[in-house]
Amino acid sequence: MTNNSLKLLQERIDSVIRGKQGAVKMAIVTLLGRGHLLIEDVPGVGKTTLAFTLAKATNCSFQRIQFTSDMMPTDIIGVSIYNPDTKNFEFKEGPIFANIVLADEINRTGPKTQSALLEAMNERRVSIDRKTHTLPEPFMVIATQNPIEYHGTFPLPESQIDRFMMHIKLGYPGYEDEKSALLGQSSLDFLENMQPVITGDEILKMQREVDGVRVDDSLLDYLMAIITETRKNEKIRLGASTRGAQFLLKAAKANAFYEGRDYVVPGDIKDLAPTVLGHRLILKARTSIYDAEVIMKEILERISVPV
């Protein structure tokens, strides 16, 4: 059922990052839904590899930004430099001018720099010196974040975290997959020589097709019921935003497209709701984001699916 070129894409990435089919699929769905992805996990489980492989396989330009505590906004979006020859300020593009941007350890930098990135993510353009520079299409940010319990981190504020379509975690690979990863060839060389299976233009075309995926009215009601329930639930202090609802709909459409359908089914919404909405919820008890997903699942069990 899966769309053929997307199937190839998935297989290609799976061959690099073994045993992470779910996470890879989420990354592709996010790309199709014009969203951004937030990966939260301990260092060294393949977050960077995932982003890099995705860029390589889709023949997209790739930039990696390693966030540090002393980073400035201009380090991301670029800076205007005075050119003595032309006697003009010329804009020098920062690393954000790429199709796929890996914002590594986003919570290591301060809020000022974080917000510069997140504004760019939201508007898909940057403004410097009253001049607007459009970012390339497709554009997707894959941000990674160490769990907040780690030292030296600035947790993302709620308004910022809301801008990511999905929040996933990778986790350690399974025993067999990890063993074969040890035996496998040095991944960097392999990645450099990887052949793309799809082009950026094709991705853009698919993104437009995703917009045309049909959503039955009853499913919109179902989605609204989920959103409303997160706002009413007694364990949740702050429920999902309207942006959250929009993202869930987009993600569901992208998921349907990924599965080779031009219509959304209840399963699209129900399966994606925890990943799309989980990180947006602020719980009454101070617990980790994963608890939010548990509560999301509880909520989903209470809402009847349209028939």
Binding site: R214, D216, Y263, V265, P266, G267, D271, V305, V307
Partner: protein, 634 residues
């Protein structure tokens, strides 16, 4: 589970039990069992869990055991025993309400209870309970239907429930008014208890009226024509032979009455001053038909009727139903036989009575004057009292009344006069019936009670039977309260227009409706016969089938064909033990199906469903066929 649904189930259970209890035919101990419903439904309302399987099973077994004993020994009547059983089961069930199926059982038992109750009573209260039951049942069925489909949240229930309830009532009303009338109860004989009366059998023991005179049970209600004037003597039967202790009917001649339509004609030519009475007779343990004076014609729903030598009219058997009939009668005195041989018998051991009789009638030259003298003597020299003590041994009770106690009630007076007339050579007989009755000002009809039972004398004067009443006036009884009179008025309306809604009423109604437009042909009187019964059955069957298909249509219209099949499949999996909830998506359902080993087929089926339902395209005929095929193979 919505609260309204819980409430309706409780209501239905209670209407069934209350409907049975108000018949008064059950063992009062069953009230205790019935009270078990209260804690049961309180628990249910609060959402407490059902009792364990073992408790329920044990209780049910014990109840069944008790039922057998009850049917064989305690009540000895399987019908009443079943009624007891249903109450006990209702009480047990109230502690065991889990599945929708349990609720259906409650409804079914309530229906059974009401059917049983309908055979035991025809009271107004039962009618009200039945209407409540009907409305609640419809509402509960509608809610359970939507509950089953998992659509309870989406559907605003109040609208449909009220509409369907009103529709049901209207349809029932139309059906009631227009359906052909069937004689007799559902199982032929009703089991309603007949009122015990005295005075209307072939043998009446002297002194048996005393208890009856204290009984205020209503015997009949009567609407009279305007020309009927008081005093009303509702004549029953006559007795001719006094053996010293009892009055007997030794003549026993009964002949069938000529019938025309539903009218039985005794006197072909009605006199001009004939009186008309419409009588609603409670089920009595007697076959007598009452009327003012001599009955000339009776309109009654019966195959045959009989009349005896004295003009008393009888139905062929004791009626277990309330009888409604119209009597045309005359107060003209009937002619007597030449010698009236049967009315001259005199018990030989009465010695003092003839002496007294000749003493009283001394100086009177005509039989009429003699009779009036006796009547006047008894009226003025004796006291009316219901408190009579049995006579000393060896003393005849009638002589005890005349010479010792000098107080008594109608029986004493009538017997004394009849015997004195006979002693004086005048043929006479005792008449039993009712006197007067009270007028209900709300309905304008007359209520006759057991306490109005009366007996008087008829004697042959100049070749005609003339009525005499030697009993002095009884003290005026307490007037019943206004409320009870009004209630009785409502009851009368219920009997008149609901219970006794007859084919002639239908005719009248149709005439009334069609009067301004056209003259409808006379509706033939409908009798119970095999072909017609079959026709009714067919009508009922076909209309219910139609209703069923309409409901199905409605369901398909609401959900669409595709969804109905999907829901059926879901229910099927559920029955197979799949973990499917309202929050299960089609893909969840598919996973469950795969777990049950239906993986591939289910996947295709569900993919078809999803595409048709959410793809916005529906299905073409070919896909429908495929879909149906997949469903069937599953």
């Amino acid at each position: 589970m919505p609260r309204s649904y819980k409430l309706l189930t409780a209501l239905l259970a209670f209407t069934g039990c209350v409907g049975l209890v108000i018949t008064g035919a059950l063992n009062p101990l069953m009230l205790i069992a019935g009270a078990g419903l209260i804690p049961g439904y309180i628990r249910f309302w609060r959402g407490m869990p059902a009792l364990s399987k073992w408790t329920i099973g044990g209780l049910s077994t014990a109840t069944l055991f008790l039922f057998v004993i009850d049917a064989l020994i305690i009540t000895g009547d399987i019908f009443i025993a079943v009624a007891h059983l249903t109450i006990a089961f209702q009480a047990i069930k109230s502690f065991d309400l889990k599945e929708p199926w349990d609720h259906l059982q409650v409804y079914f038992m309530s229906l059974l209870q009401l059917i049983i109750a309908s055979e035991l009573t025809r009271s107004l209260a039962f009618g009200l309970i039945f209407i409540i039951f009907l409305i609640a049942l419809v509402a509960a069925m509608v809610i359970s239907h939507f509950l089953k489909e998992g659509a309870i949240r989406k559907v605003r229930l109040r609208g449909p429930v009220i509409t369907i309830s009103i529709l049901t009532l209207v349809v029932t009303g139309i059906f009631f008014i227009s359906a052909p009338r069937v004689k007799g109860g559902l199982w032929g004989k009703s089991r309603a208890q007949n009122i015990k009366t005295v005075g209307f059998s072939e043998k009446v023991d002297f002194g048996s009226y005393g208890d009856v005179k204290l009984d205020s049970t209503i015997v009949m209600r009567i609407e009279t024509s305007k020309n009927a004037l008081q005093p009303f003597y509702w004549r029953g039967r006559t007795l001719n032979y006094f053996d010293g202790i009892s009055w007997l009917d030794t003549i026993k001649t009964r002949t069938g009455i000529q019938k025309q339509g539903n009218t039985f004609i005794i006197i072909p030519v009605l006199p001009e001053n004939a009186l008309t009475q419409k009588i609603f007779l409670e089920p009595l343990d007697s076959e007598i038909i009452f009327g003012l004076g001599t009955i000339a014609k009776v309109e009654i729903d019966s195959r045959t009727m009989f009349v005896d030598h004295a003009g008393s009219v009888f139905t062929p058997e004791k009626s277990a139903r309330r009888l409604a009939y119209t009597v045309h009668s005359t107060l003209d005195e009937p002619l007597s036989d030449e010698d009236a041989f049967h009315y001259r018998q005199f018990p030989p051991d009465l010695k003092r009575l003839p002496e007294l009789a000749s003493e009283i009638t001394k100086g009177a030259d005509t039989t009429l004057k003699k009779a009036l003298k006796i009547e006047d003597y008894l009226k003025s020299n004796y006291k009316y009292s219901l408190k009579t003590s049995p006579p000393q041994s060896g003393v005849n009770p009638i002589e005890d009344f005349l010479f010792n106690s000098k107080q008594g009630y109608c029986e004493h007076y009538a017997t004394a006069m009849a015997l004195m007339l006979r002693a004086a050579g005048t043929p006479s007989r005792i008449v039993t019936g009712f006197l007067e009755g009270e007028k209900n000002k709300y309905g304008g009809y007359i209520i006759v009670r057991q306490s109005d039972a009366h007996s008087w004398v008829e004697a042959v004067i100049d070749g005609k039977w003339k009525k005499f009443d030697p009993t002095p006036p009884a003290p005026i009884p307490e007037m019943p309260s206004q409320v009870s009179l009004y209630l009785d008025y409502l009851k009368m309306k219920w009997y008149r227009y609901v219970v006794n809604f007859s084919s002639s009423d239908q005719k009248r109604l149709i005439d009334y409706i069609s009067m301004p437009f056209l003259k409808m042909p006379e509706m033939p009187d409908i009798k119970v016969c095999g072909v017609r019964m079959l026709a009714y059955a067919l009508v009922i069957l076909s209309s219910s089938t139609m209703l069923f298909f309409l409901l199905r249509r409605f369901r398909i219209y609401r959900y669409g064909f595709v969804t109905v099949k999907y829901l059926k499949f879901r229910n099927f999996l559920k029955r197979k033990g799949a973990n499917i909830k309202r929050s299960s998506t089609p893909s969840d359902v598919m996973k469950e199906a795969a777990r049950l080993g239906l993986g591939d087929k289910a996947a295709d089926f569900i993919a078809l469903y999803e595409r048709a339902r959410f793809g916005g395209r529906g299905m073409n005929e070919e896909e429908k066929k495929k879909y149906k095929y997949k469903y069937r193979t599953l």
